[in-house]
Every structure is written in structure tokens, then in C-alpha cells.
């Protein structure tokens, strides 16, 4: 009986030879993640259960990234609640200010996820780790609490849509353009409850960063998870960061998919999602002049080294347009440090940008760049819902780091080719 990549990982973690779409299964968890917003609710629920310890001190992970460094007293209390809990339960992987980064950039970088893992996280963008050939998905705080207590979670086995990628993207076309193009094509709920499995020579040609960006936004198509086939690039990335052995699962040749969608990467143009849904996509060559007030480059979608480097090269020797506030947020301390050593942060500052310590901050309208009524931002983040980055009448346009950097310079939504 044939299975998809996702189904094989789930079967192995349920201790069975075979699973079928629609089946309800109980699986063992390799990692249980929470942040400073979702963990406090999970801790409250965990404490109701009467467990004295977490199931595995090495596998429970908390990252203080959303409202940290603490944006106000209430946020400080929430972080303290997480900090105290992790100290008491001797949680090994607790990342506080100074070590933390945006969680989904941090976990792969720290080698905390390897191919074949099953990871749940109380954050919807937990689906990012599919880039490394893991099954990972977002859950709520109650599921996180149960996961912390028992190391288990129940799932309905998903069916899958297969995306066969071919061709090579043009210069400045990156993972963000690819995933926005796909969401624009299939819509924000087409992959509801299902897996998005990425394969084909085009998938293998993409960098690990691009794969992280693409899987990160699988949730914006409604998917349960996104996952890439493991190859040498994945294994090299993991070998540099983890001592654990990756387990490689490959979909069966005759695996059944609900749909097979072919995407020619060479045809993808710089793509922007207009307010207020990630499916409202337009290519930069078909839009009129749209003036902007702010640019944000960062997040679990696009705060990776490659993204920061590309944005810096576009901004090098140029100035941010008058009236535009550009905020650069490397996703982790490692990326921040490398960007500093290579002089990239100087490039941004000389261009007139603000450079921030890692935080989710403005992506979810938390802090570090909130929009006033009617203001418009181009952001490399993942959501552009009403009020996402501030006032409900403000607007977020989602784009790649290249488009965001070019837009900051020109003061309007623009591709890097227009510079």
C-alpha cells in the first residue's frame, strides 16, 4: 500500500506499517514548541493536568520571540511565567533574550529538527520545518500542554497535493515569490487539512532558505503541513548543525495525491500579496504606483541570512526614500552577528534603515513598527489580514526581500529590476 512522505513519517511515529488518509492516529513527538504568547496558556493547562514533569526535558522547547524583548509589563509577566516554568521543569531548550531568535528560524539553525521528525508547535508557522523533510504542524496551547505532558498528539492522517517544481527561478526571484504565486493560484483554503508536498528538479534546485520560506507559508493555503523531499542540500544543512541522524522518507512511486500541480519556476515574476489576504497576488509589472510608509524585512518567513544579504546588496550605496521607515530584523542572533561581521548592518544603517535585535514584533502588530490609520507597509512577513500590523485601516503588502528592499529605496512597491 502506497504512502506519501507525510504519511510515512506519521506511520513510523504511530508505530504502524501503514496509514491511510482520514485515519485517526496517536503519534510520538520529537519536539514540542511554544512561544511567549502561546506557552502561558499551555502552562496554565499543563498545571491542570497534575503532571509534575514534562515528558522530555530535551524535547520541550520554548522561545521568547513574539513580544520580546518585553514590550510592556504584561508581556514581561508572560515571559516570566515561561522562564519560571522552564527553570522549574529543567527544560533544556529555553531561549530568552540574548539567545533567542524568531522561533522557526532558530530551531533549524540550532539543529533541533532533523529529517523524519514529528514536531508540534503552538504557533501556526511551525509548518516551516517541512523544508528539512520533517512533519511539523501548528497546534493550539491545549495540544501543546498535552504534548508537554505525554509526548503524544492525535492526528487525522492528511491526504496531499503534490507540487512538481521545474525550471530555475530568474534573478531576485526567491522562495517568497514561489509560495505567493502558489497561494495566488490555489487560494487561502484550497489545501485545508491537507499536506503540500514539494518535489521535482526545481525543488532540488532551491536553497534550504527558499524551502523554509515556502513551507513556512503552507499554512496560508490552509495546509496541515508543507514538506520537501530530502536531498544532499538538506543533509548537508543538518550535518552542520545537529548530531542526530536524519531519517529520510521518500513518497512511494505510486503514492496517491488529491491533485498534482506543476509549477515552472522560470516563469515566476516578483509577486506581491495585496491586503487583506495572502491569495490577493499581483506581479510587480502589472501594478500602478502604490506609495508606502514602511518596509519590514525579517520574520520566520524571510529573516534568514540569505534574505538579509540580498536586501543589503540591493540597498548598498542607496538611500531609503524620504517618508519611508525601513526596519530590518535578522531572525536570529547568529544571522545578526554574521550580518554585522560582514558589514551588512552598516549597509542598512547607511541607507537609513533601523536594524533591530531578533523579534517577531511588527509581523503580528506586537511592537517595533506598528502602523497608524491608513498607513501602508511592504513586509516580507506572512500575513496581511485586517489590522495585522497595527490599525485596522492600515495595509500590509507581502513581498520578497528583494521587492521590499527596492520598495524602500523607491518609496513605492517596486521590483529590484526597477532600480
Amino acid at each position: 500500500m502506497s504512502m506519501t512522505m507525510t504519511q510515512k513519517i506519521l506511520a513510523a511515529h504511530a508505530g504502524v506499517d501503514h496509514v491511510e488518509a482520514g485515519e485517526l492516529i496517536l503519534v510520538s513527538l520529537d519536539r514540542v514548541l511554544g512561544n511567549d504568547i502561546t506557552s502561558p496558556v499551555a502552562i496554565r493547562e499543563f498545571n491542570k493536568l497534575g503532571y509534575t514533569d514534562v515528558y522530555d526535558k530535551e524535547k520541550v522547547t520554548m522561545v521568547m520571540d513574539h513580544f520580546a524583548p518585553n514590550k510592556d509589563i504584561k508581556a514581561a509577566i508572560q515571559c516570566k511565567m515561561c522562564r519560571d516554568f522552564c527553570a522549574e521543569k529543567e527544560v533544556v531548550h529555553f531561549y530568552d533574550v540574548g539567545q533567542m531568535g524568531v522561533e522557526h528560524a532558530l530551531l533549524p539553525e540550532k539543529g533541533l529538527v532533523v529529517s523524519g521528525d514529528v514536531v508540534i508547535g503552538a504557533d501556526s508557522h511551525t509548518c516551516t520545518y517541512g523544508a528539512l523533510g520533517a512533519f511539523s504542524t501548528g497546534v493550539g496551547s491545549s495540544d501543546m500542554a498535552c504534548g508537554m505532558a505525554t509526548g503524544k498528539a492525535w492526528f487525522k492522517v492528511p491526504s496531499a497535493i503534490q507540487f512538481v517544481l521545474k525550471g530555475t527561478p530568474k534573478p531576485h526571484i526567491t522562495g517568497k515569490d514561489v509560495i505567493l504565486h502558489i497561494i495566488g493560484k490555489i487560494g487561502v483554503d484550497d489545501a485545508l487539512y491537507r499536506s503540500m508536498e514539494f518535489t521535482g528538479e526545481g525543488a532540488h534546485a532551491l536553497s534550504v532558505t527558499d524551502r523554509l520560506t515556502i513551507c513556512n507559508m503552507a499554512i496560508e493555503a490552509g495546509a496541515k503541513n508543507g514538506i520537501f523531499e530530502v536531498d544532499e542540500k538538506t543533509l548537508a544543512y543538518i550535518a552542520e548543525r545537529s548530531e542526530r541522524m536524519p531519517v529520510v522518507y521518500k513518497a512511494d512511486e505510486d503514492a496517491v495525491y488529491d491533485e498534482v500541480i506543476e509549477i515552472d519556476l522560470s516563469e515566476i515574476k516578483p509577486t506581491v500579496a495585496f491586503p487583506h489576504l495572502p491569495e490577493n497576488t499581483h506581479t510587480t509589472d502589472e501594478i500602478d504606483e502604490i506609495k508606502i510608509d514602511q518596509v519590514v524585512i525579517g520574520s520566520c518567513t524571510n529573516g534568514y541570512y540569505e534574505n538579509i544579504k540580498e536586501a543589503a546588496e540591493i540597498m548598498r550605496g542607496r538611500k531609503v526614500a524620504k517618508g519611508v521607515r525601513a526596519i530590518i530584523i535578522p531572525a536570529t542572533q547568529e544571522i545578526y552577528l554574521r550580518a554585522m561581521k560582514e558589514g551588512l548592518l552598516a549597509v542598512f544603517i547607511e541607507a537609513g534603515c533601523a536594524v533591530s535585535t531578533p523579534t517577531c514584533g511588527p509581523c503580528l502588530g506586537g511592537h517595533m513598527g506598528i502602523l497608524a490609520p491608513g498607513e501602508r507597509a511592504v513586509a516580507t512577513t506572512n500575513r496581511n489580514f485586517v489590522g495585522r500590523m497595527g490599525d485596522p485601516t492600515s495595509e500590509v503588502y507581502l513581498a520578497s526581500p528583494a521587492v521590499a528592499a527596492a520598495s524602500a529605496i523607491l518609496g513605492r512597491i517596486a521590483s529590484a529590476d526597477e532600480l
Binding site: K48, Q78, V139
Partner: protein
Amino acid sequence: MNFEGKVIKYGDNVDTDVIIPARYLNTIDKKELASHCMEDLDATFGERVKSCNIIVGGNNFGCGSSREHAPLAIKESGVTLVIAKSFARIFYRNAINIGLAIYECPEAAEDIADGDCITSDSDTGVIRNETTGKTYTTKPFPPFIAKIIADGGLMESIKKGNIR
């Protein structure tokens, strides 16, 4: 379980950022969360929910963030049931886990209008629009899900020994 009440109706893709904006996620106090429920989508929600305790939505209700604060805010506002054409999967799971009843029923969600009076029995899955007289049938909750909702959420159910 039986449900009865007046309907507040919304469209497609009601996301977790409008259900409870992130700027209020610096608290886990349910009452405080409820006081901001839906405010970016519908400024009248806080007033209307005093007399209307059923929400009807379109496709992909609850899309976006995994924040459990979203169904918590809805439930704490006094809403007893959400009917939609479809739900985002994390929201669906969270709603059950915190004991908020939800029905996926495209026909009912299409037909039912704002202000209609609804009755429903979760054992049979029958939804009746008392205003128009039309009835709809959705799949009833399987017993273990019904039990979680009746117990008030997953944790309460585990504590009561109803989940093993």
C-alpha cells in the same frame, strides 16, 4: 447538547487576527480577551453578543494563527455555537479542545441570515432555523468529541478520566 439562540453572521476567511488582535495577546485572562473579541471586524459585536449567542461564518473560519485565545475569546463572550461552511484546521482543533461547539455545515451557513433564531441538537446533528422553518443536517459529533465539549474542554475531560 442543545443549542438555541440568535445569529450573528459573518463572511469568508474570518481570521484569528480579527477574532482577537495580537495587540491583546499580552494577557491570558479570558474576560479581558473576550472584551476585545471581533473588535477589528465588527465594532458592534460586544453589544450584539449579549442577545445573540450563535456565530455563522463562511469558508475557512478561524484561519491564521494558532492562538487558542481566539476560540477562548469567542466562548467567553457568551457564544455557544459556531456554524461555518468550513473551518481552518488549527481553529477547529482548538475550539474542540477548549469546549466550544462548532459545526461544519455549508448549506446552513449559506442560508442562515443575521438575526435568525436557531435551535440545534448535537446528538442528531440537526440544525433548525426557527425564523424560516428550514432544517439542516450535519454530522453529529462522535461521542468522544461530544464528551470533550460537554466536559468544558480537553483538560477537564482528561482530569475527569474521560480520555485515556
